[in-house]
Symmetry: C2
Subunit: 100 residues, 2 copies
C-alpha cells in the first residue's frame, strides 16, 4: 500500500472525528500512542508491538491530514539518501543521524 | 511510494547507525522528533511542518525495523476500517477514536 493510500484510508475512517476534536487534542492522542509504543517496546511481545506501531502510524497520518501535510510528499525528503550528507548509508559524523 | 519501500529506504540510509545505537537511544531520538513536531505544529510554517512529519515518519520506520516490525503489514490493521467498530467512517462512541 502506498503512503498516500494509507493516509486516505485513515482520513476516510477518522478525519471527521479527529478534525472535530482539533489539532491539540489529536496531538495528545498521538502522544498517548507513543507512550503505548514505549510500553510495548519494553514488554517485547511481537503482536503487541505490531499493533502499537500501526496505531502510531495511524495517528501520525491523521495529524498530518489535520495539518494539511501529505506524508508521501514529505517522505521525499529521504529520496536522495540522508538529507544532510546525501549518502546511503548516512555518513554524517557521530550520532547526529543526518538531517532527521 | 509504498510503506514497505519507504521502510527499506530508511533502513538503507540509517539501519546500521540506528541499530548500533540501540533501541532505547533510538526511541529517545524518535521522541525528540515528536517534540520538534509539536513545536512545528505550534509555529505553523508549512515547509517546517512537512519536514518534521517526514522526520517523525522516518524515526518510526527505523524503530520498527529495529523491533523487527514491518509497518506495511502492521498497517493492515486498518484495512477493514476502524479496528474496533469495523466501520468507515468510525462509529465508535465518543472520543475513543476506535481501536487506535
Amino acid at each position: 500500500m502506498t503512503i498516500s493510500k494509507f493516509q486516505r484510508k485513515i482520513e476516510a475512517i477518522y478525519f471527521e472525528k479527529d478534525s472535530a476534536r482539533g489539532l491539540d487534542g489529536t496531538f495528545r492522542w498521538f502522544v498517548e500512542e507513543v507512550g503505548e509504543l514505549a510500553r510495548a517496546v519494553r514488554k517485547g511481545d511481537p503482536a503487541h508491538l505490531r499493533d502499537e506501531f500501526a496505531d502510531c502510524l495511524a495517528w501520525l497520518n491523521t495529524l498530518a491530514s489535520i495539518c494539511g501535510v501529505e506524508l508521501e510528499e514529505a517522505a521525499r525528503k529521504y529520496e536522495v539518501g540522508c538529507p544532510k550528507c546525501g549518502r546511503t548509508p548516512c555518513e554524517c559524523a557521530g550520532d547526529t543521524a543526518g538531517g532527521r
